[in-house]
C-alpha cells in the first residue's frame, strides 16, 4: 500500500516535469581554468529542472532554456559553477579544480564524510591499489593495505576462505569476521558448503569481482562502526562499487594471464634414504635382525610387495605450474540525467595441486538516473557464477596434497603405466594422484547481489531514501567418489555420489532520512536516521546415492541405492533503527553521535533488542589561530571516540528448548537437544579509541596514528555443565576478551618532480595488537586442537596459545639421562622433554604454554614509482613474532614410529644414530617408548615471522601520441609478480597458513596445508 503511494508520487513528479516551457537557446564552450583546454563531458543543467546536456569533444554545448534561468556546470573534480543566463545567448565558462574534492571522501555507515571531518578510525583502500591483482576476492586484495586489518590467506586453495581480523579476535565462539556491506547492502559471507573438504573452507565473498570495486572503507573503531550495531564488533568493511559519471562513454579492457608455481618445494627423502631409515628403525627395536635387508622389511611390513620398488617424487606427481587469467571489459559514462557502469569479466585460476580450479563469470550494471533535480533513482546489480573444482585439503585421509606428503617413495604411481591401475602408497592413505584425478568435487555458485534506491529531496539538505536490496546465493555441490583406486572412501559402498544445494538469501528494506545544513557559515550539522529490516533464509538439501555400475556413471540417477537425503530451512531476521548526527563548528570542533537498536531473532525473549551507542569528538588544531605560523603543517587533528558494538554471530534458536528428530527402527523418534537460556544475547564490545591525523608540507607527509582498547564482554560461551545431566552445557554469555593496540599509517610523496616526471610515493602501515583472554567460565582453561590439548584458552593469555611439552634437544649419551626419566623407557637419542614440575618424570603435569600464534606486529609497505610512462609498484607485507605449530611433523619426521610408512622430511637425515651423536633429531624407533613424536611438543613449534614481497608490478603506459594513432584513450602493459620473495625461518611450506581455515580459535596451525603460490602475470589495460 505504502509502496503504491510512493509510485503515484513519483508519477506526478514526472508529469509536472513535462510541463516546463522553453524559450531561448544558449551556446558556449567549457574549458579548464588551469590550462584552457576544452572539457568534454561537462554536465550543463538548467537549475531547478532536469533540462540539461553534456559538452561535446571540443567542450561545446547548446541548450534551450528559460530566459531567466541559471545554468549549472558540473564536472567531476571541478568546482560546480552557477551562471545566470540573463538573456545572453553565449556563455563560456572556465572551471576550476575543486580543492575540496581533492580531499579524500570517506564512506561511513549510511553516508559519506570528508576525511577532515571524520572523528572515527577508518582505513580506506581505493581501486588503484587493488586492480589487476591476481586474486579471487576483495579480502585477499586488502591484505597488508590497511593498518589494523590483519588478513591471512590460510592456504593456497583457489577460492578458499580468508581470515580477516579487524583489531584482533574479539570472540571465541561467535564469528570473528567483519561485516561486509556492498553499496549499502550487507553481504552474505562465509561457507555454505555441505560437503567435507578438510580444513579449508570456501568463501562467499569471492563471488564479488574485485575490479568492480571503487573503494573499500574499513570502519575500525566503535564510533564508526556502531551504526551497524549488533554486527559491528569485528569491524565493518564498506565496499563501494564503480558508478558511471556524466561524460562520454569510456570503454576499458583489462586482461592478464600468467602462471602460478610453488615458491618453495619441500625437501623430502628419496627412496634410498627412506629405505635406510625404515630399516634402521625396525632393526633398532628388534623387529628385524641386524643383517636384514630392505626386502626383509617389505616382507615384514607389507607381507611382500607386488611391484618393483622405485623412487617416486609424489609432490611432483600432484603439483603443477598452473595458469591464472582474467579478462574483463567495462563501459561507463552517461549524461546529466543518466549514468551507468557496465562490466563483464571472466576469471580463471587453476590450482597448483591437480584437480583444483576456480572460474568466475561476473557482470555488473550500476545505473543512476536523475528524474528531476529532486528525485534520483538508481540500482546496482551483480550477477555471477563461479565453478570451483575443489580438492579435499588438509586434515583428511583423502587429500591429494596431504597424501602426496605421506606417500612412500618406494611405490610407483601405477602398477602398470598402460592400465593405470593405481597403487596404495601408504598404509593409511590413498594414492594422491588418484585422489586428485578420479573424483568429482564441483561447487557451483550462482550469485545475484543487487539493490535499488529512490531518493527524494524534500527540502534543500533533507533527503529521504528508500532502498531495497537482495543477496541471493545458490551453492550447488556435486561429489562423486569412484572405486577404481585402492582405499577409496567409497570402496565399501561401490561408489558414491552426492548432490547438495544451499540457497542463502538476504532481503533488505531500509528507509533513511538525511539532513545537511550549515548555519551562519560556522555551524555545520549533518545527520541520518533510518529503519531497516533484514531477513535471511538458508535453505539446504542434499541427496546421496551409492552403488554405481562403473566410473562412467557419476550422478545419483545411476545409483543402486539412494541412501540418504535431507532438506532444511533456517530463517533469521533483524529489525533495526539507527541514526547518526555530526556537528562541525568552523571545521575546527567536530562531534559525532551514532546509535543503533537491533532486534534479532537470535536473542532470547528477555533480550530481544540490543542498543549500540557511540560518541566521538575531533579537534582540528590546524584551524586554530595559534597554528597559523606553522606553515609546514597542513593538517593536525586529534580524535577520540567511545562506543559499544555487538556480535550476533551466535547460533539460531540457541535460546530455545527444542526437540529434534531422533529415529530408531526406521520409525520417527524425538528427543530434546539443548537446555534453553531465555537470557541469551549478543556479545558486547566496548571500544575506546584516540587518534591523531597529521599532515606536513602541503600533505606530502600524512600520518594517522590510533590507539585503542577494545574489550568484549558477555562472550557467547557454551557454558559447560557436568555431562551427567545429559548435556555438555548450554549457550550463555560469559567471559571477556581484550584487544589493545596501536596503529600507524604513513603516506608520503617522497619525490614529485614535475620537470622530469619522476614521482615516488610511499605508504606504510603497521599495527601492534595485544590480544588477551580476560575471563572464562570460573577461570577454567579450555583445551582444544590436535590431541585435544595442543591449544589452550587461558585467562591472561591470547587466543591461539600453543600448549604442550617443552623439548630441549636430544639426549646425546645414555649417561645424560636422569635415572627417573630412563625408567620411563627413555634412551640415548630420544627427545629431552623438559620436566617442568621437577618431579623426575614426564607426565601430563609437565604440559605448559609453548607458543602463541598472535604476531607482535603486522603491516605493509608500498612504494610507487612513476617515470615518464613507467610505473613500478612494490608491496611488502610482514608479520613478526607469531609462532606456527606443525603437528604434521609428527608424521613427516616419524622415523619409523608407530608403524607409520609415510615419507619423511629430509631433515631426518641428521637423526641421532649412535652414542655421542649431537643433534636435534631423535633416533629411528618403532616403539618410541619416550613418545618422541608427541604432536604437542615445542619441537614442532616454529617461528612464523615473515617478510614477503607480496606484489611487484612494473607497467608502461604508451604516450598519448601513440595511443591516439591507435584510436585508444590509453594503453598500458604490465608485468606482475605475487609472492615473489618470502623471507622466513619457518621450515614448512608457507608461513601464512592455518589448516583450520577461518577458525576463531585455532590459529597458526599447519597440517598438510596447500601452500600459497608464486604468481607471475602479464597484463594489458586498454581504454577507448
Amino acid at each position: 500500500m505504502k509502496k503504491g503511494l510512493l509510485l503515484s508520487f513519483l508519477l506526478i513528479f514526472v508529469l509536472v516535469n513535462g510541463a516546463w516551457a522553453q524559450a531561448q537557446t544558449v551556446t558556449g564552450r567549457v574549458t579548464s581554468a588551469a590550462n584552457g583546454q576544452a572539457l568534454p563531458g561537462v554536465t550543463v543543467l538548467e537549475k531547478g529542472t532536469t533540462n540539461g546536456i553534456t559538452t561535446g569533444v571540443d567542450g561545446d554545448y547548446r541548450l534551450n532554456v528559460q530566459p531567466n534561468a541559471t545554468l549549472v556546470f558540473r564536472f567531476i573534480g571541478m568546482t560546480t559553477q552557477e551562471v545566470p543566463v540573463s538573456g545572453r545567448s553565449t556563455i563560456n565558462v572556465a572551471l576550476e579544480a575543486d580543492q575540496k574534492l581533492l580531499q579524500e571522501v570517506v564512506v561511513v555507515g549510511y553516508g559519506t564524510q570528508d576525511r577532515r571531518e571524520v572523528t572515527g578510525a577508518t582505513s580506506k583502500v581505493t581501486s588503484e591499489t587493488i586492480q589487476n591483482l591476481p586474486v579471487v576476492g576483495v579480502d585477499q586484495a586488502l591484505q597488508g593495505r590497511a593498518a589494523g586489518v590483519q588478513i591471512s590467506q590460510n592456504s593456497g586453495t583457489p577460492g578458499g576462505g580468508i581470515s580477516v581480523r579487524v583489531r584482533g579476535s574479539s570472540s571465541i565462539s561467535a564469528s570473528n569476521q567483519p561485516l561486509y556491506v556492498v553499496d549499502g547492502v550487507p553481504l552474505t559471507s562465509g561457507d555454505y558448503s555441505q560437503l567435507g573438504y578438510g580444513g579449508q573452507s570456501v568463501n562467499a565473498i569471492s563471488d564479488l569481482n574485485p575490479n568492480d570495486i571503487e573503494s573499500i572503507d574499513v570502519l575500525k573503531d566503535a564510533s564508526a562502526a556502531a551504526i551497524y550495531g549488533s554486527r559491528a564488533a569485528n569491524g565493518v568493511v564498506l565496499i563501494t562499487t564503480k558508478r558511471g559519471s556524466a561524460r562520454k562513454t569510456q570503454i576499458n579492457f583489462n586482461a592478464y594471464t600468467g602462471t602460478q608455481s610453488m615458491w618453495k618445494k619441500p625437501d623430502f627423502l628419496n627412496a634410498n634414504e627412506y629405505s635406510e631409515i625404515m630399516l634402521e628403525a625396525y632393526k633398532n627395536d628388534g623387529y628385524l635382525p641386524a643383517d636384514a635387508t630392505f626386502n626383509d622389511f617389505l616382507d615384514f611390513y607389507y607381507g611382500g610387495v607386488d611391484f618393483e620398488p622405485t623412487d617416486t617424487d609424489w609432490i611432483d606427481a600432484v603439483t603443477r605450474d598452473a595458469g591464472i587469467s582474467n579478462y574483463e571489459v567495462s563501459l561507463s559514462g552517461g549524461d546529466a540525467k543518466t549514468r551507468y557502469y557496465l562490466s563483464g569479466s571472466y576469471f580463471d585460476q587453476k590450482g597448483i595441486v591437480i584437480g583444483s580450479r576456480y572460474e568466475r563469470y561476473s557482470s555488473r550494471l550500476n545505473l543512476d538516473h536523475q528524474a528531476s533535480d529532486k528525485f534520483t533513482i538508481g540500482t546496482s546489480v551483480q550477477l555471477s557464477r563461479s565453478d570451483n573444482n575443489r580438492i579435499v585439503s588438509d586434515n583428511t585421509l583423502y587429500g591429494p596434497f596431504a597424501n602426496s606428503l605421506a606417500a612412500s617413495p618406494i611405490f610407483p604411481i601405477y602398477y602398470d603405466e598402460t592400465t593405470k591401475e593405481y597403487t596404495r602408497p601408504n598404509y593409511f592413505y590413498t594414492n594422491p594422484v588418484a585422489e586428485g584425478t578420479e573424483n568429482d568435487d564441483i561447487t557451483q555458485n550462482l550469485r545475484a547481489i543487487g539493490n535499488a534506491f529512490a531518493r527524494y529531496t524534500v527540502l534543500p539538505g533533507l533527503d529521504i531514501q528508500v532502498k531495497g536490496g537482495i543477496d541471493a546465493l545458490n551453492v550447488d555441490e556435486r561429489r562423486y567418489t569412484p572405486t577404481n583406486y585402492p582405499g577409496s572412501s567409497a570402496t565399501s559402498v561401490g561408489g558414491s555420489a552426492t548432490n547438495a544445494t544451499a540457497t542463502v538469501t538476504k532481503l533488505l528494506l531500509e528507509t533513511t532520512a538525511s539532513y545537511n545544513k550549515t548555519f551562519n557559515d560556522v555551524h555545520s550539522i549533518s545527520g541520518v536516521i533510518g529503519a531497516s529490516t533484514e531477513q535471511d533464509r538458508r535453505k539446504s538439501a542434499f541427496v546421496t546415492g551409492v552403488g554405481f555400475p562403473g566410473e562412467r556413471f557419476r550422478y545419483v540417477a545411476s545409483a543402486a541405492r539412494v541412501n540418504s537425503g535431507s532438506n532444511a530451512v533456517v530463517d533469521n531476521a533483524l529489525l533495526s533503527y539507527f541514526g547518526r548526527v555530526n556537528y562541525n563548528f568552523q571545521d575546527r570542533y567536530l562531534l559525532g553521535i551514532n546509535f543503533r537498536a537491533d532486534g534479532s531473532t537470535r536473542f532470547g525473549e528477555e533480550n530481544r533488542f540490543g542498543y549500540f551507542p557511540s560518541v566521538s569528538a575531533g579537534w582540528r588544531v590546524i584551524e586554530e589561530d595559534f597554528m597559523s605560523g606553522l606553515d609546514f603543517m597542513s593538517e593536525l587533528k586529534l580524535r577520540a571516540s567511545y562506543g559499544i558494538t555487538g556480535n550476533q554471530g551466535i547460533p539460531d534458536f540457541a535460546y530455545q528448548a527444542l526437540y529434534v528428530g531422533s529415529n530408531y527402527q526406521d520409525q520417527p523418534g524425538i528427543g530434546p537437544t539443548q537446555i534453553p537460556n531465555p537470557d541469551l544475547k549478543w556479545e558486547e564490545t566496548q571500544q575506546f579509541n584516540v587518534g591523531a591525523d597529521l599532515g606536513f608540507f602541503n600533505n606530502r607527509l600524512n600520518i594517522a596514528a590510533d590507539y585503542y582498547i577494545k574489550k568484549t564482554n558477555d562472550l557467547l560461551f557454551f557454558r559447560p555443565t557436568p555431562t551427567q545431566i545429559g548435556y555438555g552445557g548450554y549457550q550463555s554469555n560469559i567471559g571477556s576478551v581484550e584487544n589493545k593496540g596501536f596503529e600507524l599509517a604513513i603516506n608520503t610523496v617522497n619525490i614529485d618532480n614535475r620537470d622530469n616526471g619522476f614521482n615516488w610515493t610511499t605508504d606504510f602501515n603497521i599495527a601492534f595488537n595485544r590480544n588477551k583472554v580476560l575471563e572464562l567460565y570460573e577461570g577454567q582453561d579450555i583445551f582444544y586442537g590436535f590431541g585435544g590439548n595442543s591449544l589452550v584458552l587461558r585467562e591472561g593469555e591470547p587466543i591461539g596459545t600453543f600448549y604442550g611439552f617443552k623439548s630441549d634437544g636430544v639426549y646425546s649419551t645414555t649417561d645424560e639421562i636422569p635415572s627417573t626419566i630412563a625408567a620411563q623407557g627413555t634412551q640415548a637419542g630420544d627427545v629431552r622433554f623438559v620436566d617442568v614440575n621437577n618431579d623426575g618424570t614426564i607426565t601430563d603435569d609437565d604440559l605448559t604454554i609453548i607458543g602463541s600464534a598472535q604476531p607482535k606486529f603486522v603491516g605493509g609497505l608500498t612504494n610507487n614509482f612513476r617515470y615518464k610512462g613507467f610505473d613500478l609498484n612494490i608491496f611488502l607485507q610482514f608479520s613478526q613474532g607469531n609462532d606456527i605449530a606443525n603437528p604434521a611433523h609428527q608424521y613427516q619426521q616419524h622415523l619409523g614410529n608407530d608403524f607409520l610408512d609415510d615419507n619423511m622430511l629430509s631433515l631426518v637425515r641428521d637423526r641421532w644414530q649412535q652414542e655421542g651423536d649431537i643433534t636435534d633429531i631423535p633416533r629411528a624407533t618403532v616403539d618410541d617408548l619416550n613418545n618422541n613424536n608427541r604432536s604437542n611438543s615445542s619441537r614442532f613449534i616454529y617461528d612464523g615471522s615473515y617478510l614477503r614481497v607480496k606484489n611487484v608490478i612494473l607497467g608502461y603506459s604508451l604516450p598519448t601520441s601513440v595511443t591516439e594513432r591507435l584510436k585508444m584513450r590509453s594503453l598500458r602493459v604490465y608485468a606482475q609478480a605475487q609472492n615473489l620473495f618470502t623471507f622466513t625461518d619457518y621450515p614448512g611450506f608457507d608461513p601464512e597458513v592455518n589448516f583450520a581455515g577461518t577458525s576463531n580459535t585455532t590459529l597458526g596451525v599447519d597440517f598438510y596445508t596447500f601452500p600459497q603460490t608464486r604468481t607471475i602475470t602479464f597484463g594489458v589495460n586498454v581504454g577507448f
Binding site: P486, V493, R561, F653, G671, P672, Q724
Partner: protein, 441 residues
Amino acid sequence: MGSFTACDDVLDVEPTTAIEAEGAVIDFTTLNRSALGTYSIMQSDNYYGFRYLLYQDVYADNLAHTGTFTTDREVSARRINASNLQLSSTWATMYSAINRANIVIRDADRLTNITDEQRNQIKGEMLFIRGLVHFDLVKVFGDIPYITTPTTTIEEIQVLGKTPVSQVYDNVIADLQQAESLLGTTARRDPRRASGLAAAALQARVQLQRGNNAQAEAKADQVIESDAFALVNNFGDLYTNEGISNVESIFELDFTLNDANSLGTASDPTSAGQKFYLRADAYAALEASAENGDERFEATTRIQSSRRRLLKYEDIANNADNVIIIRLAEMYLIRAEARARQGAAALPAAPQVISDINEIRERVNLDPLLVLTNAQALTEILEQRRLEFIGEGLRFTDLKRYNLTCEVLGFCDEEAFRNLWPIPLQQIEVNPNLAPQNPGY
C-alpha cells in the same frame, strides 16, 4: 517512517527442523516417539554404535587399534589418560541416554491421556535402559553418579557426586526388577526394544559380575527355561538374522541403512581411517579351536589385505548390522559359571554345568566335554566366552571377573589401577563433586 519498513513480526521466526519442547510430548504417540529417541542415543558412535562397544575388546586382548587417533591408541595400548576425549564423549553420550530415559519416565507419569498398560510399557523400557547404561558405566568407571531425575532447564542442572559401586549395583538391579515387572515376561517381544525377559537376562549378567552367583543362576535359568529363545543352529546366522527372526537374540540395537553405525567400516581394510582388527593372540585362539571343528572361526574373522578383520559387523556397504547386546548363549554360560562358582574348585562340576557348556560347544561343532572340575569348568567357560563373544563387548569385564587382568593385561601391582578407566578429566573440573579421580590417574 519506522512502520514503512519495519514491523515487529519479522522477528517471529520459528525453527523448521526442530520444535519447541513445550507441547512436544502430549499423548501416547509422541511419548512413544520420545522413547524411540532414547534408543537412538544408544546407537551413537560413542556407545553401542562403535567405540564403547569395541573398546571392551580393544582394552582387553581381543582387538587392537591401527591408526592415528591418540584417543584410540591410548585404549589399545591400555594407557588411558584422564584427558582422553573419547572417554569424555562416551561418558556424555551414556548420560544423555540416561537423561532422555528419565525425561520419558517423567512424561509417562505426567500424561493423563494414556492407559496404564501404555504407561507401564514405556516406563519399563526406559527403566531397562537406565539400568543398562548405569551398569555399562559402573563396570568400567567404578563409582559413578546414579541419575534418576531429568534435566530440561537451567534450574534442574544437578552436580551429584559419585554413588558407591555397591549402591550403583543395587540401583541397577532395582531398575531392572521394576522393568521386568512392568513389561511382563510372558511372551517373547521384538528384541529391538526392551522386554521383561531382557531385563531378567541383564539381571543375570549384573548379578554374576557382582558375585551374586545364586541370583545370577536363577535369572539365567528363568530366561533359558522361559523357552522364548533358542540357540541359532548356524553360528554365522546370528550376525545376519535380525530382530524377531533371530531366535537367540534377547536384546539388540537396530541399525539400518538410514540409521547406521560405524562398526562395518571399523574393521574394513579396504577403506581408510581408524581400524580395529583382531589381536594376533585372539586370532590364534579362534584358529586353534577351528582345528577341532569350531565354526566360529570362519564366522568371526578372516585375513584380508594382511589384516585380521572382524566379520561380525560385516555390512560395510550400509553399516546397518544390528548390535546384539544380550543373547541366549550368554545365559547358558552365565548359568554354568554361576553354578561352578558356587561349587568347590577341585570338585567335579555339576552335570548341568557341563551340559550348559556343551550347549555352546556342540552348536559350533565342537565335541562335548564329559568331565571337568569346577575350576576347569570356569576356565573352559572363559575360553568359550572369548571365542563366542569376541567383538560383542564382554571381554574386559570377563577378565575382571576372573581376576585375570594382571596375568593377561598386565594390570599388576602398581598398574592394577588400570582395572578402572579414569573419570573424564573435564568432568571432575566441571563437577568437583566427582573427585577424587580414580586412583592412579
